[in-house]
Amino acid sequence: MAALGVTHLVKRFAGGVVGVDDVTLTVGEGAFTALVGPSGCGKTTILRLVAGLEEPTSGEVRIGGRDVTWLPPRDRDVAMVFQNYALYPHLTVRDNIAFPLRVRRTAPAEIVRRVRQAAELLEIDALFERKPAQLSGGQRQRVALARAIVREPALFLFDEPLSNLDAQVRAQTRAELVALHRRLGATMLYVTHDQVEAMTMAQTVAVMASGRVLQEGAPMSLYRDPASLAVAKFIGSPSINTVAGRSTGARFEGALSCVLHAAEASGAVLAVRPEHLVLGAAADASPATVTLVEPLGPESLVRMRLASGEELVARCAGEAPWHIGDHVRVGVAEGRGLCYRASDGSRLL
C-alpha cells in the first residue's frame, strides 16, 4: 500500500487539446478516492497518466513517495480494472488471474497459492476452467478484480468498472468493492461518471470538469457545500434546482426568492436541492403548476413549472398529495438556499 501524489499534472494532446490542466491530487495510503465528472473532463486521462499508459506534458506522479512519472507501467506496481474488464479471451479464468504473476516469473507454487486466494476472496474459484466468453458481466468483473488483487499492487486504479453491469449487479458490486477495500486496506483511485457510485463508495470525491479538479472533499460535504454551481449541479440526483435572479445582499430576488446573508449585490443563481423545496404556504412561496408526480415508494418527486417557465423538482416524504395540473406554492426551506454568482458560478453564500 502506498500513497499516490499527483502534482501540477498537465496533459496536452496532439492538436492542442488539453486533457488534464494542472491537477494536484493526493490519495492517502489506504484511502479510496473517486474522480467524478462528465465524460471528456479528463478523469480517465489522469488515471492513464498514473498508470503510465500516457506520458504527461508536465507535472509529477509519485507512488509511495517514489517518482514514477517516466517509468513504464510494469515498473509502477499499479493494477487497473478496465471498464470492459480487458480479460484475455483466449485464456481460462485461472490463467487470466495468473497472468500478472506468470509474466513476472513468480514461482509456480506461489502462483497457485495466490490465484486460489484471490479467487476465494471473490468467490470465483468455481469458474476456474471457463473462458471469459462463458461468464456473465458480474463474473467477468470479479475475474478482473481478482487479476488486479493477485499481484498485491501498491495502488489500484478503477476505470468505470461498473458501467457495463446491469443495475442490480451494479448495486451489489458497489457494496462488495467497498468491503474489499476495507479488507485489503488498499489505496484506490476510482474513476466514474456516476456521482452515485462516487458518493456511495469513496471516502474522498474529486469533482472534475474541463481537465481541472473543481472541488475535493468528503461526499457529504460536497453535497452540502458545493463550492461552485458546476459541482452543485453535478452532485445529487435528481439534479439541484437552479433559478436565475439577483442578489440584493439580504435577499435573492427571482422566480423564487429567499433570505440571504450575502455581502455583495450582483446577478446570481439560486440553487436548491429537491428535498429543500417546501410545497405549501411558506413565507416566500411562488405559484407553480405540477407537471408530473413520480412516486418512488418511500418518497415522491414532484415536478412543477413556475409561472416564469423554470422547471423545478421537489422531493417529499411518502406519497405526494398533488396531481398533475394542481396549482401549488413553492418556497425554499430556511437557510437551505445556495447562491452563486451568475458571472462565474462561484459561491456567493
Binding site: 487497473m80 484475455y88 485464456l91
Partner: protein, 510 residues
C-alpha cells in the same frame, strides 16, 4: 386443394412439359447425330488412296471445308432445300490426320416428343395423385416432397431409357464409309442428357412440392410459411450453384471414370483406370511434391506479413501511403507481375543478377536452373501475396482491443510477452485462415507457372494445376486430367474441412 391451387398445379405441369420438350429437343439435337442420320456424304483425300467420294452440293462444300480446316468440330448448316444438316471432319485410323469430312442429315424432330411424352405422363399422374392425397387429408409435407421427387425421378428414368432406346434403334442406320476406319463425330453423349434431365426432374419435383406446400400453407403456422419464403429466396442462388458448380463437378467425376476422347463416338466406362494411371505416373507425384514445396511460401509470407503489419500498425505519419504500397502487388494482374519478375530474374539483364554482379557474386539463371526455379516462383508468389496477408493481419491487429494490451502492460508484460501471450493467440484465427486459404490457393497456382516457366526447367516447377492443364489441353487426355482434378479436389476439400474444424473450435471473443 382449392381451385386456385389446382390451377397453379396445372400451370406447373404445363411449364414442366414445355421445359421437358425444349430440353429434349436441344439434347437430341446434340446426341449422336450420326445415329439418327439417314444418309452420309463424305469426301477423302486422294493421297490417302481412298475411292473418290460423291461431291458435296456447293453450299455444303464450304461448310464441310470450314469444319475441316478451322474448327475440327461439327458445324450445323442448311442445304439448298433448307434442310438442316451437320458437317464434321473425319480422321484416319490413328485419330491423327483429318482426311475428309462428312455431312449428315438428322432426324431428330420426331424423337423429342417421344422422349418427353413419358416424363409428362408421369408428372400428370403424380399431380393428380398428390391432388387427391391432399384432398383426402392424409398427406404430410414430407410424403408430398418424397412423392414429387420419386415422380420426377421416375420421369427422368423413363425419359433416359427412351432416349437410349431411340439411340439404339437408330444406330444400325449409321452409314460408315467402308474405307474409313473410324468415323470421328463428337457427341455431347447421354451424359449431358442425363444431367439436364435429372436437373429438370429435380426442378419439377421442387415445383410440385412447392405447389402442394402452398396449397396447405394457409392453414399452417407462420414459421412454415417463413421457411417456404426462405427457400424461395435462396432458390435462385441454389439453382446457380447446382447448374454452374455442382453439375460441372459431377460431370468432371463422370469424365474421370470414362474413356473420354473429344473426337471418339464411344466413351466406355473404365472405372478407376485413370486413377491407377496417374498413381503410377511419376510426373503426377512430382507435380504433387512440387506443389507441396511451393505451398511453403505461404507460412514464410505470413511471417513477413505479420512483421509488416506490426510495423504498419504504428500510428506514424504517412503510414497509410505505405500500407497502400505494400498492398499494391495484390491488386496487380498476376500476368503483369509474372512478366515483370521474368525480367527482374533474367540471367543476363535482370536486376537481381545485376545486384549480385555488383557485389562480385556469380550470376544465377533463376528461372533456367531446376534448383532455383521453384524458389524463384515462391519468391514472386510471396511478393504478390504479402500485401493481402498484411492487410488481413492488420485488420486482425486492429481488432484486438487496446485495453487488452494496456492490461498486459500493467500486468507487467514486456513487448515480447505481450506479443507472445496476447497478440499471437488473439491472431490465431486469422493465422489459421491465412494458412489454410493460402495453401488452398497455392495449389490453384497456375498463372505464374504458365507465364514464367511453363513447368520447366526439367519439370522443376511442374505443379498439379499446370499438369492438369497440360494433360487436358496439350496431351488431349481429358479423362486423365479429370481424374487428376478429382484428386486435387479431394485434397482441397480435406484442407477446407480442416479449416472449418479449426475455425469452429475457436473460442468467441469475450
Amino acid at each position: 386443394m382449392t381451385r386456385v391451387h389446382r390451377r397453379v398445379a396445372m400451370a406447373t405441369a404445363v411449364l414442366w412439359a414445355v421445359a421437358t420438350i425444349a430440353l429434349s429437343w436441344r439434347v437430341l439435337k446434340g446426341i449422336d447425330e450420326a445415329a439418327r442420320s439417314r444418309e452420309a456424304l463424305y469426301r477423302a483425300h486422294a493421297s490417302q488412296g481412298h475411292a473418290p467420294s460423291p461431291a458435296f452440293p456447293p453450299s455444303i462444300e464450304a461448310s464441310a471445308l470450314a469444319s475441316v480446316q478451322q474448327e475440327e468440330r461439327p458445324l450445323i448448316v442448311h442445304d439448298p432445300d433448307g434442310v438442316e444438316l451437320v458437317t464434321a471432319p473425319v480422321k484416319d485410323a490413328d485419330d491423327w490426320e483429318i482426311i475428309g469430312a462428312v455431312a449428315l442429315y438428322g432426324r431428330w424432330r420426331e424423337c423429342a416428343l417421344r422422349v418427353a411424352a413419358p416424363a409428362i405422363a408421369v408428372l400428370v399422374v403424380a399431380l393428380v395423385l398428390l391432388g387427391s392425397a391432399s384432398a383426402a387429408r392424409w398427406s404430410r409435407p414430407g410424403i408430398t416432397a418424397l412423392g414429387g421427387v420419386v415422380a420426377a425421378g421416375a420421369a427422368a428414368a423413363l425419359t433416359l431409357s427412351q432416349l437410349q432406346a431411340a439411340a439404339a434403334a437408330l444406330a444400325p442406320r449409321l452409314v460408315v464409309p467402308p474405307t474409313l476406319a473410324r468415323l470421328a463425330l463428337p457427341s455431347p453423349s447421354l451424359a449431358f442428357a442425363a444431367l439436364a434431365l435429372v436437373l429438370l426432374a429435380a426442378a419439377g419435383a421442387l415445383a410440385v412440392s412447392a405447389v402442394h406446400w402452398h396449397a396447405e400453407a394457409a392453414g399452417r403456422p407462420a414459421r412454415v410459411r417463413e421457411t417456404l419464403a426462405a427457400w424461395g429466396f435462396i432458390a435462385p442462388s441454389l439453382a446457380h450453384l447446382l447448374v454452374f458448380t455442382i453439375a460441372p463437378v459431377g460431370f468432371l467425376v463422370w469424365i474421370s471414370v470414362h474413356d473420354w476422347d473429344l473426337l471418339a463416338s464411344d466413351r466406355p466406362f473404365v472405372g478407376l483406370a485413370h486413377f491407377r494411371e496417374i498413381g503410377a505416373d511419376p510426373s503426377f507425384w512430382r507435380a504433387l511434391r512440387n506443389g507441396l514445396v511451393y505451398a511453403l511460401y505461404v507460412p514464410a509470407t505470413m511471417v513477413a506479413a505479420l512483421a509488416a503489419a506490426l510495423v504498419l500498425d504504428q500510428p506514424l505519419r504517412g503510414i497509410k501511403v505505405l500500407r497502400v504500397v505494400v498492398f499494391l502487388p495484390y491488386v496487380a494482374s498476376t500476368v503483369a507481375i509474372a512478366l515483370v519478375w521474368q525480367w527482374l530474374l533474367h540471367r543476363d539483364f535482370g536486376l537481381l543478377n545485376a545486384a549480385l554482379a555488383a557485389v562480385h557474386l556469380p550470376r544465377v539463371d533463376w528461372l533456367g536452373n531446376p534448383a532455383t526455379a521453384l524458389p524463384a516462383l515462391m519468391l514472386v508468389s510471396a511478393w504478390g501475396q504479402l500485401g493481402y496477408m498484411m492487410v488481413v493481419y492488420l485488420a486482425g491487429l486492429q481488432a484486438i482491443p487496446a485495453s487488452l494490451l494496456e492490461a498486459a502492460r500493467l500486468d507487467g508484460a514486456d513487448a515480447w510477452q505481450r506479443f507472445r501471450l496476447v497478440v499471437w493467440p488473439m491472431l490465431r484465427p486469422v493465422s489459421t485462415y491465412l494458412l489454410l486459404t493460402g495453401i488452398i490457393w497455392s495449389f490453384h497456382g497456375f498463372t505464374l507457372v504458365y507465364v514464367m516457366t511453363e513447368g520447366g526447367p526439367a519439370h522443376a516447377t511442374d505443379v498439379l494445376v499446370y499438369r492438369i492443364y497440360q494433360t487436358a489441353w496439350e496431351f488431349r487426355r481429358f479423362d486423365v486430367a479429370a481424374a487428376m482434378s478429382v484428386v486435387l479436389c479431394a485434397l482441397l476439400l480435406a484442407l477446407t474441412a480442416l479449416q472449418w474444424r479449426v475455425v469452429k473450435g475457436e473460442p468467441a471473443d469475450a
